[in-house]
């Protein structure tokens, strides 16, 4: 038996103790999972903690405090809790949590769905929540039957007298259980005792996603709601100098035109009228200080500033001496552009501000931040702000921003009616918080036997941490060097430096954050070293991953399953890459050809060690999705800045991977009893280097910039 982690009790108690908070959390409308099924619990539901409620009729309700954006939390998190509860999965209801401090992120502070951390950070609290409730239900039954709790066990929503015939459903025990004290000690299941965890339980969100019933942010429909579309200055840092609302107001359906902090909003009785109204609106922009900015200048600045100063992220051994003594040295530079998130659901938010309350409905990953922003704008206390999280039509980090929340709340504050702010696709691509561009200079020294003895990696890029709080001059942004400073190869002398460059284009968290750019550079460069020594790139990695068994094991599975070393049809080659991110280890082999001057990826074999697995099918989905996200960046992804504005406007010039470009993907999950790792992002970084390394085999050319241009 696993003993309870007593340090977690304080956390659980906060959830349990905030009775008022709980009442709010449990009785708000806006349930995203089963809207039509109103709660039917009896008089005294059992509310053992902030995530669980058991009704007198036996209905088990799990409160979801994470955003479902495709990554499967709506299924995986309840799996964990209901397993420890020994609850009845078939009678489960899922309810959206009302944003509140009891759902704060145990690592990140405010309530947020980020950093591939939902399962990782919720595993222990949810297991304890389930186990504690189970213990209380068992105690209630034992009390009724006047036997010792140890003579009972729980199964599928019932407490059963182990050596007898009596059994009682959780619903019948709910009231009695609610009057019992919380147990001081909870016993968690042994790994082998799980019934739900580790199984590919079908996703709970899928039935409503194939019928059109699933409600996304864009589908929010509040009585008397108006729809707003905002004209924003095309150049970053610009603002509206003047506007003529006459032509916009003449568009049927347009109600008013309102200047707000992000631009000028056209407010109408429907989306089409608002879009047409904006087209008619005349705005004179003050283009701001960045109007002359372009991608070429930014790229040159990254290189130039990397020569000037740096913060050291890692410095093992004597790199300078080792490099000087090396038999051979190799240098290479890698570059990556800005990227947009381009979730299929464009940003949107609906808000209703009244004198004493503010309600926000949003496809958000950041309930805590949304609440804070709404409180700031309205002057209301955060407790007067309700944030309802809808399904997200893709998150990828874009939902961590509250810019759309700000717009909706400002408008509803001014107009005192519910307002939905709708972004067009053009708005989305032109006003994203972009994945930062980066420049990487790598050098390595090899000894006479071809072993790397020195490695340096200098990263130059904007700082995501520095965006939200001041960084000291010598302060390191670890997210900027993730995957670089902790590169896994066993080399005695290693240095990693970081130079912060801030061109001024808005930047944001983008699926896999620093790992894609950094792992790309590391995994392309290690491949170049292998080539230089004439070694097989898989074996070369393997040899120099002496100290990381988990990297090596993933590499071995990916290589074996891909048929590494076996012959391929003419014109095809394999490339390999390995990496770690968010506590999980991934290796991928890409099978590639070059046809008519274009890179074509036929097959990707992916091996993942994400520790203990909650739902293997969801892990597989996330690897498939991560590979597509990474491959899109490799083959197509670029946001160019021209005259201070984004050049790409639509899906025809910001291309997403299409069905015809989709490789076969095979995912192999390594068995593991390690603590769970994240899976939402770790599939992204390794595919681009695997493809580049295959292209090098085919063409002899090392492509060192993304997107790939032959």
């Amino acid at each position: 038996m696993t003993g309870p982690d007593l340090s977690r009790r304080a956390f659980l108690r906060r959830g349990v103790g905030g009775a008022a908070g709980l009442t709010i959390a449990f009785h708000l409308p806006g349930c995203v999972a089963s809207e039509e099924a109103a709660p039917t619990e009896g008089e005294a539901p059992f509310l053992p903690n902030a995530w669980l409620r058991i009704g007198g009729d036996g209905t088990t309700t799990v409160v979801l405090a994470k955003s479902e954006m495709g990554q499967g939390v709506m299924t995986a998190l309840p799996q964990i809790l209901v397993d420890e509860l020994d609850g009845d999965w078939s009678s489960l209801r899922i309810e959206e949590a009302a944003a509140g401090p009891e759902y704060g992120h145990p690592w990140l502070g405010p309530q947020v769905t980020a950093a591939s951390s939902s399962v990782r950070s919720s595993m222990q609290p949810l297991r304890e929540a389930g186990a504690k409730a189970r213990a209380m239900l068992i105690a209630a039954a034992a009390q009724q039957w006047a036997i010792h709790p140890s003579a009972c066990h729980a199964e599928n929503g019932f407490v059963i007298e182990t050596e007898g015939t009596r059994r009682a459903g959780y619903g019948a025990l709910a009231e009695a259980a609610s009057r019992l004290p919380e147990p001081d000690v909870v016993l968690l299941k042994e790994l082998g005792d799980f019934r739900l965890v580790g199984r590919s339980v079908p996703r709970l969100d899928i039935p409503e996603k194939v019928t059109g019933r699933a409600r996304y942010g864009i589908d929010v429909d509040v009585p008397d709601m108006l729809v707003a579309v905002v004209a924003r200055c095309p150049t970053f840092g610009g603002s509206a100098k003047d506007f003529d609302d006459g032509p916009a107001l003449r568009v049927p359906g347009v109600k008013t035109v309102v200047p707000i902090s992000s631009g000028v909003a056209v407010v109408a009785d429907g989306s089409w009228a608002a879009l047409q109204g904006r087209k008619a609106l005349r705005v004179t922009w003050d283009k701001g200080d960045l109007a002359g900015l372009d991608s070429e200048t930014i790229a040159a600045d990254l290189v130039a500033m990397a020569r000037e100063s740096a913060v050291t992220a890692r410095d093992d051994g004597d790199v300078t001496g080792a490099m000087a003594r090396a038999a051979t040295t190799l240098h290479a530079e890698y570059r990556q552009p800005y990227l947009a998130h381009a979730a299929m659901e464009p940003p949107n938010c609906t808000a209703l501000v009244t004198d004493d309350a503010c309600t926000v409905w949003a496809p958000t990953q950041a309930q805590g931040k949304s609440r804070r922003v709404a409180a700031e704008i309205t002057g209301l206390p955060e407790t007067a702000v309700q944030v309802h999280t809808t399904f997200l039509g893709g998150g990828f980090g874009r939902g961590l921003e509250a810019d759309m929340v700000r717009e909706a709340v400002e408008l509803s504050r001014d107009l005192r009616v519910p307002v939905k702010v709708l972004w067009s696709r053009e708005d989305d691509l032109a006003h994203d918080f972009y994945r930062p561009p980066s420049y990487h200079r790598l050098s390595a020294g090899l000894d006479a036997s071809g072993s790397p003895v020195a490695w340096t990696h200098h990263v130059a890029c904007p700082s995501l941490l520095g965006r939200d709080r001041p960084l000291a001059d010598d302060e390191l942004d670890r997210t900027s060097v993730a995957g670089a400073a902790d590169m896994p190869y066993d080399i005695p002398n290693v240095r990693c430096d970081w130079t912060r460059v801030e061109p001024g284009v808005p930047i944001g968290w983008w699926r896999s954050v620093g790992h894609l750019p950094n792992v790309f550079a590391v995994e392309c460069f290690i491949d170049e070293l292998a080539s230089l020594t004439g070694a097989d790139p898989y074996q070369f990695r393997r040899v120099h991953l002496r100290r990381s068994g988990r990297h090596r094991a993933a590499l071995d599975v990916a290589a074996a399953e891909s048929g590494w070393g076996k012959s391929l049809p003419r014109g095809r080659a394999r490339g390999i890459a390995v990496g770690e991110a968010f506590g999980s280890f991934v290796a991928q082999v890409a099978e590639v050809s070059v046809e008519l001057g274009r890179v074509r990826v036929h097959r990707v074999t992916c091996a993942i060690d994400c520790g203990m697995v909650v739902n293997p099918e969801i892990v597989t989905q996330q690897m498939e999705g991560g590979i597509v996200y990474g491959l899109t960046a490799a083959l197509h992804g670029r946001i160019d800045i021209v005259d201070g504005a984004v050049k790409q406007q639509h899906f025809d010039d910001y291309r997403l991977l299409r069905m015809s470009e989709m490789p076969e993907v095979e995912v192999h999950i390594l068995p593991s009893a390690e603590p769970p790792g994240g899976v939402g992002e770790v599939g992204v970084p390794t595919v681009a280097p695997a493809v580049v390394n295959a292209v090098a085999v085919l063409t002899g050319r090392r492509l060192r910039s993304l997107p790939l241009v032959l």
Partner: protein, 163 residues
């Protein structure tokens, strides 16, 4: 004061069949069908993704053919049959919907109504599609979550179930 030629929305009426029911839309005739379906008839399964016919999220059936509802003005559907994801089956158990569940296709799910409607139109005239047929029919339906392999499998599964 209104611009000449633009009519008040309430003055216009367009009659068509929506998911098997005769309806009269009052939106102005130039309004893209997408917004009429979503906002006048409150069927929100059909999604806005780009407004230019470049993503396929708004795919519906017009007289049985898959079209981008963001590119069809309301006036063009007078007297025609329009079907949305909500009208694909009364119980949500069309062979494609069952197959979509069996293959666990959706992640975020936002594009999936459009994908399913495109697939349904394909199966109507090509009951046993090849991979190439599927690719041709769904090439314009984008999925940022990368569910393409599962979509293909689900279409084959549904074709097998109905064929």
């Amino acid at each position: 004061m209104f611009i000449q030629g633009l009519s008040e929305p309430s003055l216009s009426m367009t009659a068509f069949e929506l998911n098997g029911r005769r309806v009269v839309a009052r939106s102005s005739p130039g309004t893209p069908l997408l917004w009429v379906i979503r906002e006048e008839f409150r069927l929100s399964g059909t999604k806005y993704g780009c407004g230019l016919g470049q993503c396929g999220a708004c795919t519906i059936h017009l007289d049985g053919a898959a079209v981008r509802s963001c590119q069809v003005p309301l006036a063009a559907v007078e007297g025609k049959r329009v079907a949305t994801i909500e009208g694909l089956s009364s119980s949500g158990s069309h062979a494609l919907q069952d197959a979509w569940v069996a293959e666990q296709v959706p992640q975020c799910g936002y594009c999936q109504a459009g994908q399913i409607m495109a697939a349904a139109a394909l199966l109507r005239h090509t009951p046993r599609p090849t991979d190439d047929d599927i690719e041709r029919a769904l090439e314009g339906n984008l999925c940022r979550c990368g569910t393409y392999l599962r979509i293909r499998r689900a279409i084959h599964r549904a074709a097998g179930a109905t064929g």
